[in-house]
Symmetry: C2
Subunit: 213 residues, 2 copies
């Protein structure tokens, strides 16, 4: 899975209705441009593509209120909501060594109930365990370890990442069990997006390509 669709759907959903630039700002607010490939081009492409596929509904909108070209606003359709939750559940459950996918899942997990989040993370732990034993059995040569030479370091690195990842997941589950955060159906949700016109307190000031000079 590509993480960009999950992020974009999550952002649009939290706004109800959003245009591309708003989504772009939210993702920057989440730091997604640092830990994923969420760049302007990818975001606009994902919006258009998902609109074409019926996951988003595009409203053609009059020229912007704040300067700049006319903008298109998007809303998540029923199909899009389905796709969103499928991607979100997958991001928390599957172990595929891609940290960006988990990061996105963490940022959006509160759209699920607390119980479901815990259940998915439990499944994640099991997936890590299965992956680990498959890899260690498979890549341990019959003539004993060490036959792999330095190539074995690659495997050791994966296994180490899996182990520390599992440990971290367990700690997260404890925090969630301990009542941390506000999940779906638990009252006023944490506001994870920027209101129109609100400035990003974590703005880097960095200019990314895509900004005019």
């Amino acid at each position: 899975m590509s993480v960009i669709r999950l992020l974009v759907l999550g952002a649009v959903r939290q706004h109800g209705r959003a245009h591309g630039y708003q989504v772009r700002n939210d993702l920057e607010y989440w730091g997604a441009h640092e830990w994923s490939n969420a760049k302007p081009g990818s975001i606009y492409h994902a919006l258009k593509q998902m609109a074409k596929e019926g996951l988003l509904h595009a409203h053609e909108i009059a020229p912007s209120t704040a300067g700049g070209p006319p903008r298109t606003e998007y809303e998540v359709t029923e199909q899009g909501t389905e796709a969103y939750f499928r991607l979100l559940r997958e991001s928390l459950t599957s172990y595929d060594q891609k940290p960006d996918v988990l990061s996105a899942g963490l940022g959006l997990m509160v759209d699920l109930s607390r119980e479901e989040a815990l259940e998915l993370l439990e499944r994640r732990l099991r997936a890590i365990g299965e992956w680990r034993s498959a890899v260690t059995e498979y890549y341990t040569p019959a003539d004993g370890p060490g036959q792999l030479g330095h190539i074995g370091e690659i495997m050791d690195f994966w296994v180490h990442s899996a182990d520390t990842g599992a440990e971290w997941t367990r700690a997260l589950m404890e925090r969630i069990k301990g009542g941390a955060y506000t999940f779906a159906g638990e009252g006023e949700p944490f506001v994870g997006v920027l209101a129109d016109g609100e400035e990003n307190p974590y703005a880097t000031g960095e200019r990314h390509p895509g900004d005019a000079r």
Copy 2:
């Protein structure tokens, strides 16, 4: 950086002269199809693109000796060797949260001298340290932590990954200092590619898309 170029250059270089299918098999031997995007299409594309850019020299070759369409053999040019070492050094030095890049670097680090590998890993540790303090200072709100809500879990996950990654790097450095593995200029190198016709002892038997049914 994309990891595919590094892997392909490394594989071709170890053969001296190789065709696409051979590279594809080597990368499978290294397990690269599991921890990176090394799929047939990407490999052939990288070969062609790098040939166009002068990093590889393409020999048009007569029909295959073992069935199948005619094949093209490639050799790394001087420019390609330069690019290879640049990518290799970067893969070991830079910390960018992409585990596939480091994995490739580990598999190819023995093309460097032992001292240089250690020096690059030392630089890596420093890079992780700098990254860590930049992130923690930046994303710790003035009103104390906790203001970020569950979004803070993303940051915690990155920082945890950085810390365990640094710890693992230190352990690797100890192994290298302790004399593990055979680096450049230390005699008979470890054979990391498959000879023509040799079968992959770690073949998964899995079929990847790109294989005929």
